[in-house]
Symmetry: none
Amino acid sequence: MTETPAVPAKSTASRRGRPRSEASHQAVMEATARLLDVEELPYEELTVERIAAEAGVGKQTIYRWWENKAAVVLEALVTGYVKLDFHQVPDTGDLRADLDSWVEQSVKGLCKQDEDEGTVILRSLMAAIVSGGEAIQELLQNTDVWSGMHLAERLRSAHTAGELRDDVDPGMVASAVMGAVVMQMLTVGKPDGESLKRLLHVMLDGALEPRRPA
Amino acid sequence: MTETPAVPAKSTASRRGRPRSEASHQAVMEATARLLDVEELPYEELTVERIAAEAGVGKQTIYRWWENKAAVVLEALVTGYVKLDFHQVPDTGDLRADLDSWVEQSVKGLCKQDEDEGTVILRSLMAAIVSGGEAIQELLQNTDVWSGMHLAERLRSAHTAGELRDDVDPGMVASAVMGAVVMQMLTVGKPDGESLKRLLHVMLDGALEPRRPA
Amino acid sequence: MTETPAVPAKSTASRRGRPRSEASHQAVMEATARLLDVEELPYEELTVERIAAEAGVGKQTIYRWWENKAAVVLEALVTGYVKLDFHQVPDTGDLRADLDSWVEQSVKGLCKQDEDEGTVILRSLMAAIVSGGEAIQELLQNTDVWSGMHLAERLRSAHTAGELRDDVDPGMVASAVMGAVVMQMLTVGKPDGESLKRLLHVMLDGALEPRRPA
Amino acid sequence: MTETPAVPAKSTASRRGRPRSEASHQAVMEATARLLDVEELPYEELTVERIAAEAGVGKQTIYRWWENKAAVVLEALVTGYVKLDFHQVPDTGDLRADLDSWVEQSVKGLCKQDEDEGTVILRSLMAAIVSGGEAIQELLQNTDVWSGMHLAERLRSAHTAGELRDDVDPGMVASAVMGAVVMQMLTVGKPDGESLKRLLHVMLDGALEPRRPA
DNA sequence: TAATAAGCGAGACGGTACGTCATGTCTTCCG
DNA sequence: CGGAAGACATGACGTACCGTCTCGCTTATTA
């Protein structure tokens, strides 16, 4: 997860010069989280200068270790300094009921805020992904962006338990569900619990009319 | 779809003053399309100043009719001046085969370009959605962003034909599939045809192990 | 004082078409005066658009009859729609006393306002002169800009009365005095009555007919 | 003369961060001078953007240290980067002859240019004074705008030498003369040497110590 | 009385400068 | 020598005004 760009990372050795200040690293992450989460600054209004000031850190210290704003924000999001307000998926054994419950809880959580505060972080996430350069691309290849929503995990456990058919890819399914949620949040502002549940049921049961009259 | 902000548009009447130049309107749309599609400028490098120059139009003429860059780009995308490279979904009556064929064709189309050219427009679309203000939000509420991919349409026709169960919402399903595709394209660059097909099959058939052999 | 540009002004004839609206002409002058005098807009913030709006007149109607903003403002200043706050010079026969009195009254008048309100119109006048093109230049050649300050007039009357030496040019002297006043107002804000009186005395001692032959 | 706004300028201390680049400072001054003097751009066509480009300097670097265009131009004029074409006043001991000579030389110098090139800088000076905000006002309070014309200096030397009456303020007299000159240049284009000489004589006849030895 | 002509208020047009802001680099000093 | 402070060049932003133009209407003169 370190971004240290083009640094060979001499294994056990102690590299020359003053080592990277972990305090600064954390300060930047926390500042970013604070600005996104507490101040609720949208991505465009979140500036590197502001992060540096908030963290009590020189601007160059940020540019030394991250490619750009997107990289900072993505690391903060992906490493859990900022969390999207999704709930844990319960694991009672009844997958269908668990998912329904997850949807209900999450929707309730996301909708309780006034305005579209609930989507600020999501928008920042998407903005960072979309605007990101190559380094961000690489980072994303090895990362499950939606891991914070716990959905894939639950589906995987169901898969392992044999509840799902073998040829089902739990990650892909989770990604599809989250894609639908995200688009809904970005376009209409709030996710719609009912539609979402029906979508999940379709995924569980299939969409085709079972027309087996025989 | 009209942008004229807060103009009652008195039906037959002709309002005083110089009327809006439809030529300028089109020029802006075409310039935007040209820059996105031909020059393949990513969203951040696509500036209002450049659009104005390319269209031979004053900057203020853009700001008079659109709230910001996002609104211009979204209108160009939504009204079809720029198209995402997705293929028509065939309608042979066999939904499953049609979808498979669509996936194959589209993936082939999207991957044939060098680099990540295929995702430039998609990134712009998402960037515009994500960065857009309230006016963009409103526009999106009445718009199916993915309509250009023809998937929802095909599913709806299947739904009408009774091929899908009544309680399935074709738009939601399409949105989920497109969400997965988009996230894949944004994070790993190209969509993976095989995964995609399996996802579609899951949606058609259901994910649950039918474990009732008895 | 008509600006009708390049119009031969066919003597008695009545040209075809709608004649110039004197109402609009006056409305523009009055609007300009109101904005300068009442609203105390400085010249740079006084826009043609604002004048047109204030006058309830189309922008083109202004540009049809005046070359530019400077011409409008200058006409308003020169034709007396706006007046600089200088007092009449009394004419008691005692030139020296009259000038002293004039200085005192004028300085008092100019200083009574808070801030630098007293200089707003003066600044506008100078701005218009300085920014004006050729047409303004022409207008100024036949105009005594400082006529509103009544100084030249009084000096001329003294000259005619034989109080001043023959080779003294009253207009030039007035221009010099006003130049000093103006520079003082522009640079330090207020004119300084004492300095001014001393300057006038110097000029008088040099300018007065030495009529003491004895 | 320093522009550093509201900076305590801790005497010997060296403040943190990168210090102001004197190179940029000079580059801006020289660019302004070049544009005014060589390119002969009138004040309105002299833009901050152009100055920045000509100086190879970021626009923000100008706005960081100067309030606006007027401040830049005024500093260039007042610190001698741009000079008005007035001649030195000779000092032969004979004040009257010296002034006559000065008028002749200066008028000749100012009139030799074609068009009104001679007045471009003067117009810029007045424009800057007139349009300038509070900071400019302050700057002007401690500055003799006409110092470049050397007139006040010569008068002061005469004053010190006892040639002028005690109660004569040489600065005020110079200001009056220059005011007349300037108004003439602004309104009719060229100064009129004869009128000017007569004005000076009037002032002298009033200002000279009447050393009547008889 | 109809045609013609110009002026009118309104307001959109192509331009362009404004002053602000953010980016990413560079320089200086402190620890 | 790492890191903070912060100035630097660059360039987009959104606003404002300029002076021109196109509307549909109104007001005169001319036929």
